[in-house]
């Protein structure tokens, strides 16, 4: 059962709020309206532990007031869809706009820039909500059961999960842009716990995530993979402090690609708050490195028809054969840098637009994963990173890690309670192998990655 409230046409509501804001004195206005349904269940040790089902909605207004030297901007958000609630949303935003400063770079995008990708991007599938609750619980139960059955050393569990989400997003502005899209997603995961020889516990997890039920892996395969990942951590040792080649598993390597994106956002660049500021056109990574941010992949987890400011979604090459080719920009940061938006505006209900990635990935290389491992004499295969530890201003990188030690080209014993450290500037240059195993399990993806010259700290 879905509890979404669909009493109002959200697009008309958004258009109505835009026109009310203009009447109340705004020079320009932008409105976001969102609604969503969520379902989640956890099965633990074979029994249903939680069952949650609900829906909610919210709206946000951003107003701009033109002044001789730019614009003043302010925003409001609300979950109150009554007439009185909407009145407050509009009057509140205009009152706030009078306290902000004139900013010469603030303002909506230029008229010719608005638009959206036409055609079905396959973001929404009705089947996510087609199953009875009992069947959804069964997905979670089967995933956990498969993990528990995999090995006698798996003695406990943080449960199996099934989650589903569907939502609608509407955006309209005073320059005539109006757009909306629906999206759906569902996932199955399992988190088993295994007991080692000395009584030490380890947990790991695995998941499948898709926009349609049909595209999910089976619960059994999720459980089996979660068990495999957990068991390989058992009886871990520490490693000696040393410099050694590090191979990052794909699900870990993607966080490093995420750091390239963050460092190349216009906001970080115009402030000089990034080690990539001012490096456009320079070689910032090994020649094998090509990073792409594509918001248009049909069915992609990071796909949308338009960005947070109503600009059409597009594909941007961030790094091409090691050379930084584009910063990632919204309208504001583009103006600050004297450039054009790359359609990377992200938006919450309140506040100014930020910068967000779509489907961000490191282009696959041609080496099979096993070949990358077999090329390492002595080094670390990282399967988990822990903690923050990334400074994008300097590029300094230092994070907790666990994984498997590589000896003579073979994965050997598990290691834990160590750190891996370096500087992202050198780390990008020192990417010495890229796998052919690129798979999107979320909106950011990377193949297996080998980086040389980093420091491992342990015993």
């Amino acid at each position: 059962m879905s509890t979404a409230i669909l009493t109002t046409d959200l697009s008309s509501l958004a258009a109505d709020i835009v026109s009310r804001a203009l009447k109340a004195g705004a020079s320009d206005a932008e409105v976001t309206v969102r609604e969503g349904d969520e379902f989640s269940t956890t099965v633990r040790m074979g029994e249903v532990e939680t069952l949650k089902e609900s829906g909610s909605r919210g709206m946000g207004l951003r107003v701009l007031i033109a002044t001789p030297n730019g614009h003043r901007v302010a925003s409001t958000s609300s979950s109150d869809f009554s007439a009185e609630g909407i009145d407050h949303l509009v009057s509140g935003a205009l009152a706030l706009a009078h306290v902000t400063s004139e900013d010469p770079f603030a303002g909506l995008a230029d008229p010719g820039e608005f638009g959206k990708v036409e055609g079905d991007l396959e973001l929404y599938h009705e089947d996510v909500y087609s199953l009875p609750t009992a069947d959804r619980i069964d997905f979670a139960r089967r995933a956990e059961a498969a993990a528990l059955a995999a090995d006698t050393r798996i003695t406990n569990s943080d449960g199996g999960n099934f989650d589903a989400y569907s939502g609608r997003k509407v955006f309209a502005n005073s320059r005539g842009f109006a757009g909306e899209y629906r999206s759906s997603s569902c996932s199955i995961s399992a988190t088993p716990i295994a007991l080692g020889r000395n009584g030490e516990m380890q947990r790991d997890y695995w998941y499948t995530y898709a926009r349609s039920l049909k595209r999910l892996d089976t619960p059994e395969s999720v459980g089996a993979e979660a068990a495999r990942r957990t068991l390989r951590r058992l009886d871990a040792r520490r490693a000696k402090t040393q410099q050694a080649p590090i191979v990052f598993a794909p699900e870990i390597a993607r966080s490093i690609i995420g750091s390239i994106f963050e460092a190349a956002t216009g906001d970080a660049v115009y402030r000089g708050a990034s080690f990539l500021a001012g490096r456009l056109g320079e070689k910032i990574a090994a020649s094998s490195v090509t990073v792409i941010d594509d918001h248009t992949i049909v069915g992609g987890f990071g796909t949308s028809p338009f960005d947070g400011e109503g600009l059409p979604s597009r594909r941007t090459v961030v790094v091409e054969r090691g050379v930084l080719t584009n910063y990632l920009l919204n309208t504001y940061t583009a103006r600050k840098l004297g450039m054009k938006s790359t359609g990377n505006a992200s938006r919450g209900l309140a506040g100014n637009p930020g910068t967000g990635a779509g489907n961000l990935f490191l282009a696959a290389g041609d080496m099979p994963h096993d070949e990358i491992i077999s090329g390492v004499q002595s080094g670390l295969y990282v399967t988990e990173l822990l903690g923050p530890g990334i400074n994008l201003v300097t590029g300094d990188y230092s994070r907790g890690a666990s994984g498997l030690w590589i000896e003579n080209g073979q994965l050997t014993y598990p290691v834990q309670e160590i750190t891996v450290a370096g500087n992202l500037q050198q780390m990008f240059q020192n990417i010495t192998a890229i796998g052919n195993d690129l798979v999107f399990r979320g909106s950011v993806a990377s193949p297996t990655l080998r980086i040389d010259g980093m420091t491992i700290a342990g015993e």
Binding site: T3, S56, A74, M201, G387, T394, V420
Partner: protein, 486 residues
Amino acid sequence: MTLSPSTPAAVPQHKKYFLDKFGITERLLERCLGEALSAGGDYADLYFESIASTSIGIDESLVKSASQGVSAGCGVRVLSGERTGYAYTDDLSPDRLLRAARTAALIASGPAKQPVQGFTETKTPSLYPAPAVDLDSDLSAKLDLVMRADKAARAYDPRITQVRASYSDELRRILIAASDGTFASDTQPLARLNVFVLAKDAERTARGTSGGGGRVEIDFFQTEKTPEHFAREAARQAILQLGAVAAPAGEMEVVLGPGWPGVLLHEAVGHGLEADFNRRKTSAFAGLIGRPVAGPRVTVVDNGTMPGRRGSLNVDDEGSATHETVLIENGILKGYLTDKLSARLMDMPYTGNGRRESYQQIPMPRMTNTYMLAGDDAPEDILRSVKRGLYAVNFGGGSVDITSGKFVFSASEAYLIEDGKITAPVRDATLIGNGPEALKYVSMVGSDLELDEGVGTCGKDGQSVPVGVGMPTVKLDKMTVGGTGR
């Protein structure tokens, strides 16, 4: 720093807020609880929440953002054995509330149960002010704070090239009614001022951040912790980092400064002592009550009753007054942090630690303000005792794997200690350890207990809640530092 518990005071009529604004009567609460138990179940509760928030930001000396938001909703929970059913609505009309109650009820399957007739109001202290107005339309005082911060940071040093400062506050009103007769309400203010700066010289760029606040009103920033205080602190850190050398790598002696480095306790032991992980026996601390988990000088408490603190609460999100709970006493593990569900299932005391991010979330055992009590050592003696090590005084944050016990926390301001003296500042580095073991290496505990300035936000299962941490200067004989240097 006041560490004494507060005096109970008269409870304001918070519940009138939901009656006046949304028409939530006692009769309606009883009907919803009856509906929630219509398919059986042991317990049901309703959690009403209304939040009004304001934020304002200065950036490049321009006030580039100002925003306000309001949201309201209700979550309905039904417990049946170890099962939890949950549903919520952002429409507080009777039919939507009853519908949410019917959805949550589906977790149970049996004959209908009756809630306890009549409510007993939880007696609560007044640990913080309870403003009467939701949204303050006059932003001039808040504007003044961020403008002062901008000015003070720029004045600190000509090498400061970028300054961003933001002020944000929220007022959360809650009302909780449960089938066991619990009835509680509260008005919870939370305010925070943040400063971020960049410093630049011919060779390098460095960042510095600072911030703080608590369950306070705006006068706190005018009288106690001023914008200038936070701005100078952020600027000082950035300038310092311009001259930092590579952090060392490997095991060494580590001295942690007082205050925010208490994030060590939050990660190393705090999460592992939350009762849900121990009920499921998925925590590295499961079954260790009564056993040594730290050096004999270590006593750690979680205390939700400290006036004005970011992690403090008059009442937790399940309607109970908060407590001071001893977690580790002289190195021995004493207890867990519980919510209603885990206290009942584990037959342990309910410590008033049931918290949730919002009405859309199921409550869980969470920390409030977690800190180590002061010891006898003079901070300078602690530093003097170290031959070669790291002195870490500020951190970016941390993380923990509850099951294996491995935790990290990332130093943003740290120095080398050589022959008992503080020498060069070092660049950012992560420290890593094993929760049940790390505190066994605590060999000295300073007399200088401090709590952090009010910046902590703790994440667990996707839910964020404000917390506090604290610690005196502490020496660990062994810890792994994740730098790149020697």
